[in-house]
């Protein structure tokens, strides 16, 4: 089975920096921004986007994590998954602009679950979605506001996001497919 790298470490860094710029542009600054990552790799990406937002705007942006496991609609179709911790930054999310961050956007079901999880924490003014890779094949009416890379795929292919801090490499790779 063939594997090829579609984003290198430098590509990932550039994509996240661009996303941070776009978030600041859309929000007209860093006021009332909260970045919430979806475990596992979304949390790492959220941290990096948070760092980039502070570097660009000179203003610290609260970063948290929102776990969607217990809100999923496919729990009964899979072996039990252990939930991951949810961390809500001081100040909460009420009335804030929350940017959800995940690594890969695929069916949209994780994001649906994460939106439910968010509403159990509070009521944001706006929720935006940032993803490193959008690979298509949505099963729900959900789209990303900020995308690192659009990657049209076939369903037989698999996407691997590897990040320093969790994996021993940093890249986005694609495996398999009939091409």
């Amino acid at each position: 089975m063939s594997t090829r790298t579609v984003l290198s470490q430098a590509d990932i860094h550039r994509a996240l920096t661009r996303i941070a710029h776009e978030i600041l542009e859309g929000n007209r600054g860093a006021d009332d921004l909260v970045v919430m990552g979806i475990p596992t790799r979304g949390v790492l990406l959220a941290d990096r986007i948070g760092d980039a937002l502070r570097a660009i705007s000179g203003q610290a942006v609260p970063v948290g994590a929102v776990d969607a496991t217990l809100f999923r609609d496919d729990l009964r179709r899979q072996p039990t998954r252990a939930p991951r911790p949810t961390t809500v930054p001081d100040g909460g999310i009420d009335g804030k602009t929350v940017v959800l961050v995940d690594d890969v956007l695929y069916s949209g079901r994780t994001i649906r679950a994460a939106l439910d999880a968010l509403s159990a924490i509070g009521r944001p003014r706006v929720v935006r979605l940032a993803v490193l890779v959008d690979r298509g094949h949505r099963e729900l009416p959900i789209r990303a506001d900020y995308v690192g890379k659009n990657l049209p795929t076939s369903t037989s292919e698999r996407i691997f996001v590897r990040l320093d801090g969790i994996d021993d490499a940093e890249e986005v790779a694609i495996e398999g497919g009939d091409r």
Binding site: L70, F71, R76, Q78, T80, A82, R84, S119, A120, I121
Partner: protein, 316 residues
């Protein structure tokens, strides 16, 4: 994990996994919406053949917080008093669509029979069987210790080196058995203290230290946790000790004994307490008593257990 029948079945990784998930469940109670949709559409039956208030209510609260439907069944005033067998009762409930059965039964081993007999497909959680086991109580005790000693950094930790004194009616106590097995798996050092009449035959098989004298045990072990067991009046069918006053004097946690404990030592009790018998008011109401925390944590731990036994599908 299809069933939870015994803490003796739990390995270290699985025990820590349950406690970690219970941490996540505990976080839910701090949220604006204290409810999860996780077990929506799943029916849990509380099948209680023995009186219990707190355990049944705790399981009910846990199931409801996970959005499951709950049916409460108590043997009193049911067909059981007309002589229905466990098999027929269980199959009747299964025919009504029970996905999970939480069972308390006066016969040791009843939950295991229910789980492995093939009578029902449902996941089975042992909520106390005879004088055998009460696994969720042991899990919530371990969870409470871990939280008190490690606070927010509790996730992923075991209880290595924690010295736990379990005092009182070990003979009839399913709490003591479940705790002994679980705490040892988690790396704690467990000691039983009881009058010789209230220790089971073959207590050596538990692999714990045994003392007959509470003051000697407190002085020698310098425990991190003192867990007082309830004197089970309903099972006191023989002369296990002369009378309550003598028991309280010899094996009760009095104010004097409380003040002699090391500063960080926790006082635990599974409830309901016999104040003045195994535990004094001073001990029960002191800041080092975790009695109410144990009740609160019980809901989180039972949510974790219901999640692990019922959330996944047939493939698991």
């Amino acid at each position: 994990m299809k069933h939870l029948l015994s803490t003796a079945d739990l390995g270290l990784d699985e025990a820590i996994r349950i406690l970690d998930i219970a941490e996540d469940m505990a976080d839910v109670s701090t949220r604006e919406v204290r409810k999860l949709p996780t077990l929506r559409g799943i029916t849990v039956v509380n099948l209680f053949f023995e009186d219990s208030t707190r355990t049944r209510i705790s399981f009910e609260a846990a199931a409801k917080r996970l959005s499951a439907d709950v049916i409460n069944f108590s043997a009193k005033g049911s067909s059981v008093s007309k002589g229905e067998s466990l098999k027929d009762t269980a199959q009747t409930l299964a025919a009504m669509g029970a996905d999970g059965i939480v069972i308390r039964h006066p016969a040791s081993g009843a939950p295991r029979v229910l789980a492995h007999s093939g009578w029902v497909e449902a996941g089975v959680v042992n909520a106390g069987d005879g004088t055998h086991e009460h696994p969720t109580q042991a899990l919530l005790d371990a969870f409470t210790m871990r939280r008190r000693f490690h606070g927010a950094a509790a996730r992923g930790r075991d209880l290595a080196g924690t010295r736990v004194l379990i005092v009182g009616d070990v003979l009839h106590s399913r709490v003591a058995r479940s705790n002994a097995w679980l705490l040892k798996t988690l790396g704690a050092e467990v000691t039983f203290v009881a009058p010789p009449t209230l220790l089971p035959n073959g207590v050596a098989a538990f692999g714990v230290d045994v003392y007959y004298d509470l003051d000697e045990a407190l002085a020698r072990v310098q425990p991190d946790v003192v867990m007082m067991l309830r004197i089970q009046q309903e099972r006191m069918n023989a002369a296990f000790f002369p009378n309550g006053r003598e028991y309280a004097r010899s094996w009760g946690l009095s104010a004097t004994r409380l003040h002699g404990l090391p500063e960080r030592t926790l006082v635990m009790h599974p409830g309901p307490m016999n104040r003045g018998l195994e535990i004094s008011d001073e001990a029960a109401d002191s800041p080092r008593s975790t009695v109410l925390e144990q009740v609160t944590n019980g809901v989180s731990v039972r949510m974790a257990v219901l999640y692990l036994t019922l959330a996944a599908g047939e493939t698991n």
